[in-house]
Symmetry: D2
Subunit: 164 residues, 4 copies
């Protein structure tokens, strides 16, 4: 298990495969972007989502939703900001904001949430706060209850270094 890392937006470059014939990113892809956001948020606790699964914890969705303000397009650089909105022993709810990063500015495109149950390998709900192998890391999510700061210039520079 690694040490904890910074809480920051996840960066995603939209793919041609994700466009539709309106020339927009097809809406269901935002739920895959949200997934990237929450995986990176979990990683910031020092435990990855893959570690959680290896410990027999899975997090199927109970509910999800999204609101779209402006369309995303092909080759957009998106920042996915994620926070924990609810965390109990049996359930977790994440909130998301998606911004397009371009020309030194962040444009708010969409927001949403996903609500998850914690289940064990048998598919039954499990109480994660009674699981000492995962709770210390998961508990750190409680502190990640606000969206991280969004610095378009820094994000564009980081993206430059990697994604282009």
């Amino acid at each position: 298990m690694a040490e904890t890392t910074a809480h920051r937006p996840a960066l995603v470059r939209t793919r041609y495969a994700e466009t539709d014939q309106m020339g927009f990113i097809y809406h269901s892809n935002f739920f895959a972007y949200f997934e990237i956001g929450r995986c990176e948020l979990v990683r910031a606790t020092g435990m990855t989502y893959a570690d959680l699964e290896m410990n027999g914890i899975q997090m199927p969705l109970k509910e999800c939703g999204a609101q779209f303000r402006r369309a995303a397009k092909y080759d957009d650089l998106l920042a996915i900001s994620t926070r924990v909105e609810v965390l109990t022993g049996v359930r977790i709810r994440f909130g998301y904001q998606v911004h397009r990063i371009a020309a030194g500015a962040a444009t708010h495109l969409a927001e949403g949430f996903t609500d998850h149950l914690f289940i064990d390998r048998s598919g039954r709900p499990t109480r994660v706060h009674k699981r000492p192998e995962v709770w210390p890391a998961l508990e750190r999510l409680l502190a990640l209850d606000t969206f991280p700061a969004l610095d378009p210039d820094a994000l564009a520079a980081t993206a430059d270094a990697l994604l282009r």
Copy 2:
């Protein structure tokens, strides 16, 4: 433009490509299933969604949501029931129910909604009730405001004839 057809659930066989490593259908695929449901609902008016686009009308999403009761799995036969919940000149909202059809029974897996704007080719909102080339067909959607009857035996028989 074809004549109107029956209002009935759309049938979908889940794909291996849609599973995830929990052994469930990944949740974002339900939004593609919802899309099949509303396309078939629009087709029941005698005008297809493709016809709408050829008339310069597009329907990007404003909002969507889903609730999951039970997981769908690989090779499940799903019935997607769709109804119109709101239709004004500028906006349409569809509601969805997803059932698994197996052994003569229908199991309720999920429900959801999508909220759409009507826009024209320039990307601006358009008033469809003032477009005589599309409104007569779209107006028929107003009558499709309840979920169609769900007959598991009939659906399984139809699926047998085609999907297996």
Copy 3:
């Protein structure tokens, strides 16, 4: 295990989610269509692909390829014809043809193949011809080594009964 069924093309209605901003079906979706074709071919033996997995047999890809003659578009009705090109105890290769069915005619859009290994739950290659719980069904695939007949009118009628 069900009885064997007819060897016939699988029918697929293309989805809006599968389009790209060229207005075509994004090419990688053809591999999901191929998957539908081979699943229906396996089903014709009286054993489903899901049954195979329950017997501990999985079929990951070793290789795949596709050639595209004409683009598929949104709302196209596609017929996926599948045949077995190679079947040994450790490996299976399927061939595919994709046609668009419209106006009583079939237009050849694409063809391809997928090459699979048989592995067991531990991830190791397994010899399926020594597995009496699956071989009698799999062996029936040897007879499915030609593409099924393609009757556009019959396919359109079947699709009418179900997919629209």
Copy 4:
């Protein structure tokens, strides 16, 4: 149009949405990874694929193929190396290698190719070497005919700075 950038592997973190119930990344996603590779390769010429489309040039697939040596899994960090294998006025072929980057080492997972036609907005083949608005940039692709060097430590460090 931006200046040219380095020719280097593109980095991709696999998504949960891309797994299947074998616990592997579903094979068709590799074609989306290849797309990321070639988009970044085109970007290295100083012209993006989006710029090409704005100049009326599209690149639909004529053929594609992939060979899989080892499975990719959830949360893998992948390096997509891309080169140009053929470039004429009417056609371009890209080659790809995919490696998993972990623990300071690169493991070869897959390789493949995509073969594209250049077409114009009317859907007809076009001769890009006679289009002065795009050829100077495209011509730079001719020099990108070998796979870039693969330095696992540098890639892991870059990924650390961004993707986790």
